[in-house]
């Protein structure tokens, strides 16, 4: 006789047993008195990626100097992913399964972060990206919270980045310089799609009519045709959305004396090496970033800047600070939870509230549009806008913290 019901029960039981065996067991894996480990997956050859590992190391050194996490030392294990999604996922798995880390800080590339996000969900590893900006990262957390809640963004998703560009443009380009038209110029990448969409909505509200929109391949080397096309539309300013490229368009903008101001987000221009990289062609370029030497965004900013420069002898890309803050947030959450249990850590991460080096640090909640992304606005982190003037980045926004005036090279034609 067949007993289909018993068979099905047996089958279910064995599936359940298999699942239990295969499932994540991070709590068992780590002894309770050894060091707590946080992993870093990033590209070390990139200025932005290198700063991520160093920022995390700096935070760990600070935490260990102040008694560790409830007496346990914090250890950073960093792997180079060469900005390849496949390598990053392998590194992530290795950190989770071999090194038994309790949390991971990873990548500035949205495509890589999106490849890692499902693994954070599957392996239950609280994970934070200190720079990747695609809005899909927080959207997945929002839409499938119970599964994806392990993912955090320690910086702004692109719609918020775009909003900050509009806010700063309104306060500086429009109010002070009376600019009225803009061209949106962005590279074709995951992070720029929502950026462009928000630009198109918020720039007109900020007082800049959008007269042209150019989206180009990040492999582009010759920008002459692009500038030529934009010049034909005669905008006052190019609002950029570039990160994979930066040196080339900036250097060519200068060498061709393109008479249009360059503002928006030029992520490479936020590196302090950019002046040398472009031989000074960046004079007058405005970009969004997270930090600039000597600009106090919270009571802790300057101390962290000093500690970083003392330890590594250079001023990092903004990711040095967002990775620092992210590591601090994890450490504080583990301290409060008195545990490295992923669900408890996530619950405490959601309650994060401290003065980070990039500003007042809190995450958006479960019901907000950008769940688990860094909160933006007055009283929270805002990011800053810097302009390159005579070899230095000077802060020009938010206007309450930065009082510098905008200056442009003589070939840039502004409306009189």
């Amino acid at each position: 006789m067949h007993h289909p019901f018993t068979h099905r029960l047996l089958l279910l039981a064995s599936v359940a047993a298999c699942l239990a065996w295969l499932g994540p067991q991070p709590a068992l894996a780590q002894r309770d008195n050894g060091p707590i480990k946080i992993g870093v997956v990033s590209e070390f050859a990139a200025v932005v990626g290198e700063a991520i590992a160093k920022g995390a190391e700096l935070a760990a050194a600070n935490i260990n100097a102040h008694g560790g996490i409830n007496g346990r030392k914090l250890e950073i294990i960093a792997y180079d992913d060469h900005s390849s999604a496949a390598e990053a996922v392998r590194d992530f798995q290795r950190l989770a399964e071999q090194d038994h880390v309790s949390a991971i800080i990873t990548t500035f590339i949205s495509e890589v972060a999106l490849a890692i996000e499902p693994w954070a969900a599957r392996l239950h590893i609280p994970t934070l990206t200190p720079a990747a900006a695609s809005n899909l990262i927080s959207k997945q957390v929002h839409d499938r919270y119970s599964q994806y809640k392990y993912m955090f963004e320690g910086w702004f998703p692109s719609p918020i980045l775009a909003q900050s560009v509009c806010d700063s443009s309104r306060d500086t380009l429009v109010k002070e310089l009376h600019l009225s038209t803009a061209a949106i110029v962005s590279e074709d990448a995951d992070w720029t799609k929502p950026l462009d969409a928000t630009y198109e909505k918020c720039l007109p509200k900020a007082g800049l009519k959008v007269v042209d929109f150019v989206n180009f391949n990040p492999d582009t080397t010759d920008f002459t045709p692009i500038f030529n096309h934009i010049e034909g539309k005669n905008p006052n300013v190019m609002i950029m959305g570039i990160a994979h490229v930066g040196v080339q368009p900036t250097a060519q903008w200068y060498s061709q004396r393109v008479p249009i101001a360059m503002a928006g987000i030029n992520a490479q221009a936020s590196n302090n090496t950019f002046w040398k990289d472009t031989n000074g062609a960046t004079e007058g370029v405005i970009t969004q970033t997270g930090s600039a030497p000597g600009v106090a965004l919270s009571p802790t900013t300057l101390a962290v800047q000093k500690a970083y420069v003392d330890k590594y002898h250079n001023f990092p890309a903004f990711t040095g600070f967002t990775a620092y803050d992210g590591t601090m947030a994890f450490a504080e959450a583990m301290k409060r939870a008195n545990s490295t249990d992923p669900d408890k850590v996530v619950a405490e991460m959601e309650k994060t509230k401290f003065e980070g080096s990039v500003g007042h640090y809190e995450f958006y909640g479960r019901t907000d549009e950008f769940t688990h992304a860094l909160k933006y606005g007055p009283g929270y982190a805002t990011g800053i806008f810097v302009q390159w003037q005579n070899g230095k980045q000077v802060c020009v926004w938010p206007t309450d913290k930065c009082t510098n005036k905008l200056e442009f090279p003589s070939f840039v034609k502004l409306p009189q």
């Binding site: 050859a45 990139a46 200025v47 290198e50 074709d188 150019v214 989206n215 180009f216 391949n217 492999d219 582009t220 080397t221 010759d222 920008f223 002459t224 045709p225 692009i226 030529n228 490229v245 930066g246 040196v247 080339q248 250097a251 060519q252 060498s255 061709q256 004396r257 490479q268 590196n271 090496t273 040398k276 990289d277 472009t278 031989n279 000074g280 062609a281």
Partner: protein
Amino acid sequence: MIGLQILIDGFAISSLYGVAAVGFTLMFGVCGVLNLAHGGIMVIAGLIGWWAAVNHSAGPYGGAVIGILAGLIASYVTYFAVVRPLQKSRAIPPEEQEIFILTGTLLWGIMIQVGLDYLFTNNPVTMQALIPGVMHIFGVRTPRNEGLIAVVCWAAIGALYLLVNKTPVGKQLLAASINPRGLTLLGFELSHIYLIVWTVYGLLAGLAGVLLATFFGVSSANAGSLTASAFTIVILGGLGSVPGSLIAAYVVGYAETITAYLIAPTLRPIPALLILVIALYIRPQGILGRR
């Protein structure tokens, strides 16, 4: 107006492609070596030139000279450390030598790229234009540096022409490309000729790397694509044919520029590949290929 812009812009780029490709093709024609570390050598020249100019106050001209020398040194290292040992090895059967050299230079190219990543990060950099400012050619605003690039490129190509066609050394090079065995029978030392080719190649690759760094900027990440574009041009022109490579450089340069201006900048690399595929169907030996 846009036609004129395409004409001017395309000319500078094509000249640069030409200089980058002639050394590569000369190397194959005379020595039978396809140097897949080509892009890496160009990037070394650009990065070292930039580094000397910016961090050691060599100035734009000093930086350019140091960059070209760095290209030359990189070329010698490639020859003596990678290619020569493979050519001399008795363990490698002669009919497999080419594939060993191909693999050797490919791996060497990757090593160069990883090394540059480590030393310079993969951040792109631009060298200062040798002459700053812009000029107006029939109303088209053109960076003076673009004009200089075209002039320098053609001067280099002219010098190469004189070297190959008007000097005894050049006759040996030509002979080596046609019948190396015959040349050895006449008592010429092939390794001596190879060394001359690697010298010329190093100078050309160094020059191309430096000019590229002043025009577009360079980064260690470009090494692979620079090799690939030189390869495309050389195959299209006919492997080993210097004039063929020059014609192909202009075909590719203008096809890219026209696409970028008239269709979309994003589609820039596509026409070169299409032309290559079509050429391989209807004229597999390339524009001026011998076979």
